[in-house]
Amino acid sequence: MSNSIPSELKYTKDHEWTKIEGDVAVIGITDFAQSALGDIVFVELPEAGKTLSHHQAFGVVESIKSVSDLYSPLAGTVLEVNKDVINSPELCNAEPYGNAWMIKIKLSNPAEVNALLSASDYQNFLSTL
């Protein structure tokens, strides 16, 4: 299984990636996640304005045969939701780190960022699976 892990992103053991831009975080699922799920055919995301606590389920990705919860890696308020990924769930398979970002949140506790995995931590974690 090929697993691209961009070095500038942070990761979780739930296979979400996070891109930190000041006090805003962009969140998506990793290449490993999309590959493990297979053809992604449905994405459900929250409305902008929703408050998320750390590790709260904020949405769902479904492949043809499976349903998986999305967990927020960080606490914050949803600023923006990617409508493209809702309308074209197959983007998750094609561009997991690019056009298939899921939500942007405004961080309520930026210190939580320190607990996220670096690219090499995540690579090491994948090798244990």
Partner: protein, 358 residues
């Protein structure tokens, strides 16, 4: 109990299949993409390893009479060299399993049963032989079973030199010899498409599998198989039918032949008032899954999704659901609850997809 492997297990690993336990076997869920595998079967051809399924032989002068007695469908009057789909019921009409019985000769019948029910079926069928002059043999470990499904399946098998008669309609069977091996070829399958199932030795199966893959036939896993059968609305044991329902609850009335003089479960099924009705529902958005609640427009729970998936062909979420008979809405308006939100469902009188089987 350790996990079982089919004779093609090495081949699945070599093809990088995602493997998962199913009915005690380590089986391929998917090889490439479920979408591609489903479309290969609908448009060209795909091949499945279904060797986990069980095979019993009934032989002896009463073979046909015995099978006719234990199944609800009419087996006795089926033509020679034909297959019959039927539930296998208890005296109270509940379903032990569903199976396909192949009429090979006046004194020889092959029965193919679900992998998850092999032991239960074997014990049940063995206990019913008293008044019949038959011998029952469990050959589940001796046979491999390959399903080649799709509109190109016939062409491929003929190209391989399998001696299929010119007239060989759906649900026909034959025993033949191919490359020195005795095989049974049946024009059956569970995808809704034309196709064949080949019962053979493990060695022959390995050769056939490799030849099919080498010739570009797409290997397909259990995930695609399930999507294919849900799209054409075929019931699956453990989902639409189970120990707790009768065939009459799950839209299988056509397989219960009250005109037969006697069969196990006849008296109970004659008197039975169905508790459930099986319905076909689809959603414009969202994917129904097994276990989700089905409601009427007033929000009252009236049933449960028994199988649900995204249909690859229609691009919509589709479901089979058992609805309490007394609560079936006359207006045919159904809701499906997904994660605490109710979605309006479309009611379908016919299957979501029309298969191309002949």
């Amino acid at each position: 109990m350790s996990i079982l492997k089919t004779s093609l297990h090495e081949e699945h690993l070599a093809l990088n299949a995602k493997m998962a336990p199913f009915a005690g076997f380590d089986m391929p869920l998917q090889y490439s993409s479920v979408k591609e595998e489903v479309m290969a079967v609908r448009e060209h051809a795909g091949v499945f390893d279904v060797s986990h399924m069980g095979e019993f032989y009934v032989s002896g002068p009463d073979a046909i009479a015995f099978v006719d007695f234990i199944v609800t469908n009419d087996f006795k009057n089926a033509e020679m060299l034909k297959a019959v789909y039927s539930p296998l019921c208890r005296e109270d009409g509940t379903v032990i399993d569903d199976l396909i019985a192949y009429k090979l000769a006046t004194d020889k019948v092959l029965i193919c049963v679900n992998a998850s029910n092999i032991q239960k079926d074997w014990e049940w069928i063995s206990s019913k032989t008293a008044n019949f002059n038959i011998t029952l043999t469990n050959l589940s470990n001796d046979y491999s079973l390959i399903a080649l499904q799709g509109p190109k399946a016939e062409l491929i098998l003929r190209d391989f030199g399998v001696n299929i008669p010119a007239e060989f309609p759906y649900y026909s069977i034959l025993e033949t010899v191919h490359e020195g091996e005795k095989i049974i070829v049946a024009r059956t399958g569970y995808t809704g498409e034309d196709g064949f199932e080949v019962f053979s030795s493990h060695d022959y199966a390995k050769k056939l599998w490799s030849k099919l893959i080498f010739n570009g036939v797409k290997p397909c896993g259990l995930a695609a198989r399930d999507v294919l059968r849900v799209e054409v609305c075929y019931p699956l044991y453990g989902h639409e039918i189970s120990d707790s329902v009768t065939p009459l609850d799950a839209g299988l009335g056509w397989t219960v032949k009250m005109s037969k003089p006697d069969f196990i479960g006849k008296a109970a099924l004659e008197a039975y008032k169905p508790k459930y009705q099986l319905v076909k529902l689809s959603l414009e958005r969202g994917i129904p899954r097994e276990g989700y609640d089905v409601l009427d427009v007033t929000g009252q729970k009236i049933g449960t999704v028994t199988s649900g998936t995204m249909s690859v062909v229609t691009g919509k979420g589709v479901a089979l659901a058992l609805i309490e008979k007394a609560k079936v809405p006359a207006d045919k308006k159904y809701l499906i609850n997904i994660r605490n939100t109710n979605y309006e469902a479309n009611f379908h009188a016919k299957a979501f997809v029309t298969g191309g089987h002949k």
